[in-house]
Point group: C2
Chain length 617, copies 2
């Protein structure tokens, strides 16, 4: 599959965009006209630069508002087109995108549109240019890819074909199966975009909210399946208008974009295997090492210059200090299968923060190979000869992701590298494992993170939610395995929390939630051990009572112990939060019956209590 990307997807100057695309491994680019117009580089210089970077210049776009017009306006449009054909000759380009008319079309007549496009085709042929005619979703008379294709057919001109764009097709709800009926040689170009399900006018949706394949809600593997079955074998390009990508670092965005195409090629290959086993097609799709979803968290690592407070918290929660690493300044704390690694290496000036997560996977080498093929960056590891070799890559938010060997009994071989300290816990391990982890995401990298965890670890995004805090809405996106062994909540904090300045709001903290078989008993022990709980206001319990008519004894216990409660059709949820240390706190949760949530109605209570502490502190 030849990969391409429109320059409009990225931030920066045209040179910066081109360099980023080349480094990320794209075969070619679409030149978005605006990027050329604002550039001081001449067309010849751009052509030379592309050649040096090994990028083909696949498509010049957009040429707007051509067809369905009066003869007088057509003359003007042909003049305008010829100027652009000359420019394309200097660029060494031979394919131009013509969008269906949205502004100046006055005549709704396919014969006329076809005859006008035929004249454009004759002119284009003189410059060796081909025209890819595309139905915009909001085109005045032509807004359906099959309608555009009928007009292309009517031109019967070798230089006139069509461009298919998944956004314009799927946003209108057109059935992409019709793609299979288009002769492959008439599909001159293909553009892909994914999009979240938002109910808004299509133009705004298209201009601001497109995302890379896998970051939205559409089944682009099915779309690609239709395309592959049509026999198409040209470039598959990304055209993404996105307010955030426009602001993000272009090198990262280009890698994110390439990851989406690599992942989509694999998904498409799997889809075709399922629907047409054994069939072959002109387009070849690279596959990746298949990996099963991880079965659980192997460990979480907390990094801090001074971890004394974190150690105290863990002890109060009943964790045992399992020992110190033989060669590194790293501690291991354990309770049940919940393992917390405390790392004081290279942590100058660092407040406690979640620095790494280990995931139990069936085949760590295959998982790492898959991640690296998906453009993840490897974490350099120095291992002694007698130590476990661990595979690790960096997530977009810089968290290190370790791919660890899953074992039937949930143990981890690398723990043998830690000298065994004397047992120090209560001993009955009320905490059994890590239930979920909540990671704060920079707003610029949120979509990238979703795709990263979906493509490399096979975590699936759930519908996102928004939680009010005293300084704004926190957006929360849960990524999880089907069986719930791994649950990650990716949260974007309100902007004011990220901005330095006189605002009292501190950076948004992250947390590790620990699964517990008896949270009331654990909380009582933690009180005795001197744990500092996040204080929950009395008004919360009054409301709880109004909503759930709880047993008075349970309500009293909840209030006494600063426990929070939720209930749904599936079961009950009781949990508490510790005080925050640096950028980290812990949560202890007990899931009763089949409760699958995270106590979302209680999140505003937590955020408000934490906000008060930052104001008082």
């Amino acid at each position: 599959m030849r990969t391409s990307i429109a320059t409009v997807c990225l931030s920066g100057t045209l040179e910066e965009k081109m360099q980023a695309c080349a480094r990320a491994g794209f075969d070619g680019i679409e030149i978005f006209e605006q990027d050329l117009i604002v550039s001081p580089r001449s067309p010849a210089e751009i052509r030379r630069m592309a050649a040096e970077l090994g990028l083909s210049l696949d498509l010049y776009q957009p040429f707007r508002d051509f067809e369905g017009v009066s003869e007088e306006l057509l003359e003007e449009n042909l003049y305008r087109a010829e100027e652009k054909f000359r420019l394309m000759a200097s660029l060494g380009m031979d394919l131009m995108l013509v969008c269906s008319n949205v502004a100046t079309a006055t005549i709704d007549d396919d014969d006329l549109a076809a005859s006008q496009l035929r004249r454009l085709g004759d002119l284009a042929a003189r410059y060796g240019v081909r025209i890819a005619y595309e139905a915009l979703a909001w085109g005045t008379f032509v807004n359906d890819f099959e309608h555009a294709m009928r007009i292309v057919d009517m031109t019967a001109h070798p230089n006139i074909g069509t461009c298919l764009d998944s956004f314009h097709i799927l946003s209108r709800g057109w059935d992409p199966a019709g793609i299979e009926k288009i002769p492959a040689e008439k599909i001159f170009f293909v553009q892909l975009a994914d999009a979240p399900e938002i109910s808004m006018d299509i133009l705004s949706w298209s201009r601001h909210y497109r995302v890379f394949p896998g970051e939205g809600a559409w089944e682009l593997d099915r779309f690609m399946g239709h395309l592959v079955r049509s026999g198409y074998n040209g470039p598959v390009s990304l055209e993404i208008f996105n307010d955030v990508f426009r602001q993000a670092d272009e090198e990262r965005t280009a890698v994110d974009a390439m990851r989406s195409l690599i992942w989509l090629a694999e998904r498409t290959s799997v889809h075709l295997q399922e629907t047409d086993p054994g069939a072959t097609y002109p387009m070849r799709l690279a596959t990746l090492p298949e990996v099963a979803e991880p079965t659980g968290f192997n460990f979480a690592e907390v990094k801090a210059k001074d971890s004394a407070q974190v150690q105290a918290l863990l002890r109060q929660l009943g964790f045992a200090f399992r020992g110190r690493h033989r060669t590194k300044d790293v501690q291991l704390w354990v309770q049940g299968q919940a393992r917390i690694v405390i790392n004081e290496q290279q942590a100058r000036g660092m407040e406690p923060t979640i620095s790494a997560l280990g995931f139990d996977v069936e085949d760590p080498l295959a998982a790492a190979s898959r991640a690296l093929q998906l453009k993840a960056v490897q974490v350099p590891r120095q291992s002694q000869a007698n130590e476990e070799v661990l595979q690790a890559v960096k997530a977009p938010d810089s968290t290190e992701v370790f791919l660890c060997q899953a074992t039937p009994d949930g143990t981890a071989a690398w723990t043998d590298e830690f000298a065994t300290a004397s047992p120090a816990s209560a001993g009955d391990d009320l905490i059994t494992r890590i239930d979920h982890v909540n990671l704060a995401q920079p707003w610029q990298h949120f979509d990238e993170s979703v795709l990263f965890y979906e493509s490399t670890l096979a975590l699936a995004p759930r519908p996102s939610t928004e939680v009010p805090s005293p300084v704004g809405l926190v957006r929360s996106q849960v990524m999880r395995t089907e069986h719930g062994g791994v649950r990650l909540a990716l949260n974007i904090a309100p902007l004011v929390m990220e901005q330095p300045g006189p605002s009292a709001a501190s950076a948004y903290p992250q947390h590790i939630a620990l699964a517990c078989t008896d949270v009331v008993t654990l909380a009582r022990r933690a009180v005795e051990a001197g744990l500092e709980f996040l204080k929950i206001p009395a008004n919360y319990y009054a409301d709880l009572q109004a909503r759930f008519r709880l047993d008075p004894e349970l309500l009293a216990a909840l209030q006494e112990l600063n426990l929070l409660y939720d209930r749904d059709d599936q079961g009950e949820f009781i949990h508490f939060y510790t005080a925050t240390v640096g950028r980290l706190f812990f949560e202890v949760v007990e899931r009763r019956d089949r409760y699958e949530g995270y106590g979302a109605p209680n999140a505003p209570v937590r955020l408000a209590a934490q906000y008060r502490l930052t104001k008082d502190g």
Copy 2:
């Protein structure tokens, strides 16, 4: 008119919100339940605090999903309601909002809904509570205020009335004229929100994009007219769910909110005078000193620690150094009626930036009085006995707004305070006046700025636009007078431009655009005088030629002089930009015929060229 506001409009803790509302002058507040639940203050403490602040507690809200349910669920809902009535008793509150059912309604039967609400009314009466039943725009069976009112009528219960919310009425396109038919004593409460015209699902629109009256697109003076004619005389409250207000400083937001109600009361009063002259109503509406829109810019002030570069720019543009102020370290530069004041006072560490704007108004004292009544903050001015007393207030972005005496010949009396220097200009004043000014706005204060300029200076917002820059979209909102004497462009830069850090993007610059009668001649003179122009790429001129088929001589002149060009049905626009000095640059514009725009198609070219300079520099 009694003023009230829902606590959900503001950021912070409940105490912070209440203090901000009291300081801004609100009569009362709505307690948004969530704010109480997350607060460690007891209901009795909140009640005491409100009394001390002089705030009435007007409405407890929301109580959801009550009516249209099975008998079993009704019992639960009555239990839940009684708990809340008890809570309201502790708060000393007597009015509760009940929203039409969106989640649990299963029976579409007005008789049933009315009988269930009647039972709620009986229960409420025992606690001295009244129920304001409101139709949510997305209510399952009840989503129209007239439908809700029919059900209220059917209850025939003294403790059951309605709550009207402009959002739920206008977002659905219901005709608010029906309000006049509702008996005033059955309107228990009124909530106001404005909103921008966005085409999206109503729930998202409502939860994220509401704005204060005057900051959106709706004719709330007409809405209020219907309300006043109904005979209603209770609180008029603001209930605004807005992602930005949630993050902004609560004191500022509360002032912004109060300004919107003061302004709306005046607009309503004017509207009623026009439609029913002489009529009187129970609700009394305070009016403000009426002011005509300003006729022009009196001056613009640039503040800088070191203004040498600004002075050089002005000289190169043909400005004359008019003199130094008799008592202050302030210079005056003049060309035609364009006056630029350069202020080096109290400018430690400041790069050149626009610090003040003077507006020509008919009656400066009345205009200042109006602004102060609209909660604008006065700028403290120290004037000597023999100096002009100038009225000035601070705009939300901290720009000082001077209200200056308009004169028939466009002169300004305060210029006499400047010693006259020898003339130094070319002498024929190709620049005649300030055409427009472009001010960068912090994203938190954008809506506040729009309302400020609309309410205090009678500038009207035009449809906003978005301009792509290499690091994101710039949102631009023009505010102008009908006759174009004053035009202000309020721009929000992409977030990355505001964030400190390793990003190469500098702070978004502001600019002063100067109207010119012959921009080609002026540009030639400026070249000779050594002015540094913003360089426009050759590719731009090739595109200009394709789009406009310009006269070759004109095109050559444009390209030689780095001039930009635009044309529409009304006329032509030729302009150029100077290099940026600090946070400021100048633009010189020539409007031919009746061109009313700002060369928007050229803005991306400017932003890209400026971006390159920040990268190179």
